[in-house]
């Protein structure tokens, strides 16, 4: 039988606010356990939550970025369950009225465009951490993370393969980091996915029974977990079994998913509106204020880069994959000295390669946009060749400095003086009569031999176009 895979993702994005969603404690990562847990975070008797407006603003940003409806009136609800890292015995979340409804994520994969619809996005607080290994024979509780603001983004079951799910997650990751609501750091848990996976016979209209795989904190784990889960479900069904609805955990060491709890144990969270918090009212004015602060979105910029600067789809995609990269590129285009297209080539080529090699990100790039513009401008005005430019680039990367000074100091300036080129060509022809004869006998390839020799003699500084012209003219006799 042919099986169709159905995937929906729930993504927890940690919002990049300075303080927690209902208290004034810091959200910074990595502090000593329980040093960022206030009376509110540890749920002392009598304390009350006060909503951090910044978190709501992040949600509005997200809603605007994905074309969703911003709920003008949303409410916080209590999700009740007992766990040691949940100090109040309930999590403040949103249930019936989330702050964001609808919207969609667009991405392309294998040169095909996809759209994944969003169900909703709601605000909630994170729980603390249970530390099972740190203290022998006991479980430690670290409440630093308790109360950290999260935006849970729920997709429709619109994805049909692990590859699509990963592409969706990457596109979502790009958006939340782009609009600055999440630092996107997956290792620190700032962006983690739960995948709802089911399979059904191709052509079936109803969904199969789904399993939810919790807490996937890398794109690779997301992909591996889904692939394993799909295979597991198909195997069960093909052997005449049926899928049990359950929550599963992915174990990266064994590359498999394991049952965590079945639906029979599913808790009744007894949601009800939190009487300690007023409904969140978002008016037109607030939305407009957020709108004004929003950066242009990657898809918009990508189109602009293609139409305005003639970038290839590939380069435009790559440049808009990250906000900082786009900012760098935009800085390059601010100067009229060099063509944006050639700048883009250098950015996605040399710069990216060098960054990869040195494990730096674009923000740490030792070559400033202005230096790169100057370099590209010198290629375009033929002061140096593209090849020599790579040498200059290396110097700039290693030692910094001004482009023209580097070219000057190292004598890298291109030789465009035709008499000097002619002199070199004459000498070469004189010392290689056989090759001259070959060329004249119709062996065109020999041209390359002379180009190589000439460049070697000159240290690569000859203007290649001019050299070509002179060679052709003289060799032709």
């Amino acid at each position: 039988m042919q099986w169709e895979v159905v995937i929906g993702l729930e993504t927890h994005t940690q919002l990049a606010t300075r303080s927690k969603i209902f208290s004034g404690s810091s959200t910074a990562f990595g502090a000593e356990p329980n040093t960022q847990a206030s009376a509110i975070d540890i749920a002392l008797p009598g304390v009350l939550p006060v909503l951090n407006k910044q978190a709501v603003e992040c949600a509005i940003r997200f809603g605007l970025a994905v074309g969703a409806d911003i709920n003008r009136y949303s409410i916080f609800a209590r999700k009740n369950y007992f766990y040691p890292d949940l100090p109040k015995g309930y999590q403040i979340s949103q249930y019936e009225e989330p702050v964001v409804k609808g919207g969609a994520i667009h991405f392309s994969l294998n040169e095909q465009d996809y759209q994944v619809r969003l169900t909703r996005a709601h605000l909630e607080e994170d729980a603390g951490k249970s530390l099972h290994e740190e203290i022998p024979g006991a479980t430690g509780i670290d409440l630093n993370r308790a109360g950290t603001p999260l935006l849970e983004i729920v997709s429709e079951p619109d994805m049909r393969s692990a590859e699509e799910a990963v592409a969706y997650a990457k596109a979502l990751h790009q958006i939340v980091t782009w609009i600055g609501i999440c630092d996107g750091n997956m290792q620190e848990g700032s962006f983690r996915c739960d995948a709802n996976v089911s399979v059904r016979p191709v052509g079936s209209k109803t969904f199969g029974t789904r399993c939810e795989i919790k807490n996937l904190n890398s794109f690779r784990f997301l992909e591996r977990a889904i692939l394993f889960e799909v295979e597991r479900q198909i195997e069960i069904l093909e052997n005449g079994g049926s899928i049990v609805q359950e929550t599963r955990l992915y174990d990266p060491d064994r590359d498999e998913t394991r049952s965590m709890r079945s639906k029979e144990d599913a808790m009744d969270y007894r949601y009800f509106p939190d009487p300690d918090l007023l409904p969140v009212v978002i008016d037109e004015q607030w939305i407009n204020e957020v709108k004004e602060k929003m950066p242009p979105l990657p898809l918009v910029l990508k189109e602009r880069f293609i139409t305005e600067y003639g970038l290839t789809e590939y380069d435009a995609n790559l440049i808009t994959s990250e906000r900082a990269l786009t900012d760098y590129f935009i800085a390059l285009t601010q100067s009229a000295k060099a063509s944006a297209k050639l700048c883009a080539n250098w950015l996605t080529g040399e710069v990216m390669a060098a960054l990869n090699r040195t494990q730096l990100n674009i923000k740490e790039c030792p070559i400033q946009p202005q230096q790169l513009v100057d370099l590209v401008a010198r290629i375009e005005d033929q002061t140096i060749s593209g090849k020599i430019a790579k040498t200059v680039f290396e110097v700039l990367w290693q030692e910094g400095g001004d482009v023209d000074s580097v070219i000057e100091a190292r004598g890298l300036k291109q030789v465009s003086d035709s008499s000097a080129i002619e002199k070199i060509v004459d000498e070469l022809m004189a010392s290689n009569p056989d090759q001259v004869a070959e060329f004249r006998a119709g062996k065109d390839k020999v041209l390359g031999f002379f180009v190589g020799k000439a460049m070697k003699v000159s240290g690569g500084k000859l203007n290649p176009t001019q050299l070509n012209d002179v060679l052709r003219k003289k060799l032709a006799g």
Binding site: P45, G89, I141, P275
Partner: protein, 489 residues
């Protein structure tokens, strides 16, 4: 010096004129507490050193010419309010060892006003009860008759004021917990409009109903206290922002033409004759002062008790989840795993009434029952509010008995929770509607036990209620009478 006749107003004069130091005054009250509290059990915690140290500090400030609105006024806090460095038990074994590391808004506000904390008063466990019999620290006794309950849940504060162990006491009211004990102990007690007094640091029972308030001998004293208590607090999202108000400013307004609404549902069968008679006499007194009767109806009154006993337990079941033995409070000694830690801690830490309400609340919020109970109760709650809003189009205040009967005996109602719940029948709807309510003594019923009259006002009409009560108290002396046994001390 006989402190049993001291009012807040009088104390202010004595301290301001330096006729008495805060230290001397605190000492006198501590002596009286030491003498009477063993029998009354009105206080859970008294810490003379702490109290005297605070008084000394205030005296220094006074000598340096500092003046604050309630400088040197001794005050008792209900043990539901967190007070930094004080044991704060909420009447429960669960918190029997909990020393609060911070001050509730109410405590902070009074400290700022210059009051002296005399101690923490006894209460029904987690404010769940109408007789004070659910306190882990034993029931408070009614100063008027030691065989009777003081009412609840703020029974400790009511008994303390009635026995003049404190001139002023804080209290809280979720379904009548200020007004019912005030009535049963013959003192004045005000539950402010929901949102007028910050709930920050007040241990939550039912968040949408809980409201901090005050008890004192007279309405006038409460007015002085309210000036310190009311005000926006950004730490409580439900605390309202309003212009500052002087609650003493309207005390002396004449009552001529005051329209008193008398809901027929408050005077039906179920109200004892002794209570009905005392209330009727008080109405006649008010008429003499120029008030007029306006008969009216609050048709959904009978639904208020069932609605309350869905909503309050629902919120309580969630609010009390934090008492799990993990971070503070009681933790069972013996457990093998996490579930057992939870189960045994909570089984040992909570009393029967608290468990009953947690179970009820958990039930009404459960899948499949939520709509029929919780949602339906919320709908009826809106109808009850609407009844009041309609009524206030025809009257300025609503009046009725605070309770259907005078104080009852210990163990009389403990085996029948519903009859216990019905003792709050006249007070509960006021919380559901978020309105201010004031109970004042208006005479005595059987066995010479006090009768309370309740005045209910529109939202934020506390000053009006205090005005009506003060005018009545100028022409009556019920509030100044002392329990016989206590008077001799």
């Amino acid at each position: 010096m006989d402190i049993s006749s001291l009012s807040v107003k009088k104390i202010k004069q004595l301290i301001d004129s330096k006729a008495l130091s805060a230290f001397e005054l605190a000492g006198l009250y501590l002596q009286r507490i030491e003498k009477l509290n063993p029998e009354l059990n009105a206080f859970i915690t008294v810490d003379a050193d702490k109290t005297l140290a605070q008084a000394k500090q205030l005296d220094q400030a006074i000598w340096q010419g500092e003046s604050r609105p309630l400088m040197g006024v001794p005050l008792a806090h209900k043990d539901i309010f967190c007070a930094k460095g004080w044991l704060t038990t909420c009447g429960s074994k669960m918190l029997a060892n909990f020393v609060a590391p911070y001050d509730a808004h109410v405590v902070e506000a009074f400290n700022r006003s210059g009051t002296i904390t005399l101690g923490k008063t006894n209460m029904d466990e987690f404010a769940m009860g109408s007789s004070n019999e659910t306190s882990y620290f034993g029931a408070v006794k009614n100063p008027w008759n030691l065989g009777k309950v003081p009412g609840g849940s703020s029974g400790g504060s009511a008994a303390a004021v009635a026995a003049r162990l404190a001139p002023l006491a804080t209290a809280t009211d979720t379904g009548g917990s200020i007004r019912q004990p005030a009535a049963l102990c013959g003192v004045s007690g005000l539950k402010p409009t929901y949102g007028n007094v910050s709930r920050y640091g007040m241990i939550a029972y039912a968040s949408s109903l809980d409201q901090g308030g005050l008890m004192a001998v007279s309405a006038e004293d409460i007015a002085y206290g309210m000036n310190s208590l009311v005000g926006h607090d950004e730490r409580d999202s439900t605390s309202v922002k309003r212009a500052e108000e002087d609650f003493t400013s309207q005390l002396n307004n004449p009552l001529k033409g005051l329209r008193i609404g008398l809901p027929e549902e408050f005077f039906k069968e179920g109200v004892d004759t002794d209570v009905a008679q005392a209330v009727e006499q008080a109405i006649q007194e008010l008429e003499k002062l120029g008030a007029v009767r306006v008969p009216l109806k609050l048709p959904n009154t009978s639904l208020s008790v069932p609605v309350y006993y869905v909503l309050a337990p629902a919120e309580a079941s969630s609010n009390l989840s934090r008492f799990d033995g993990v971070r503070y409070g009681h933790r069972t000694k013996d457990y093998r795993n996490l579930i057992e830690l939870y189960e045994k801690t909570r089984a040992e830490g909570f009393g029967a009434e608290v468990k009953r309400r947690i179970l009820t609340g958990t039930y009404v919020l459960s899948r499949g029952y939520y709509d029929a109970y919780y949602l339906q109760a919320q709908r009826v709650r809106r109808l009850i509010l609407q009844d009041y809003l309609n009524a206030f189009e025809h009257c300025d205040v609503i009046l009725g008995p605070s309770t259907p009967s005078v104080a009852f005996g210990f163990n009389e109602k403990t085996s029948d929770p519903v009859s216990m719940y019905l003792s709050d029948i006249f007070t509960i709807s006021v919380n559901l509607a978020g309105l201010p309510g004031l109970s004042i003594p208006v005479g005595f019923g059987r066995e010479h036990l006090p009768v309370g009259l309740q005045l209910i006002g529109p939202h934020f009409a506390e000053a009006k209620l205090l005005n009506v009560a003060h005018q009545y108290q100028l022409v009556s002396d019920w509030h100044q009478q002392l329990p016989a046994g206590i008077a001799q001390v």
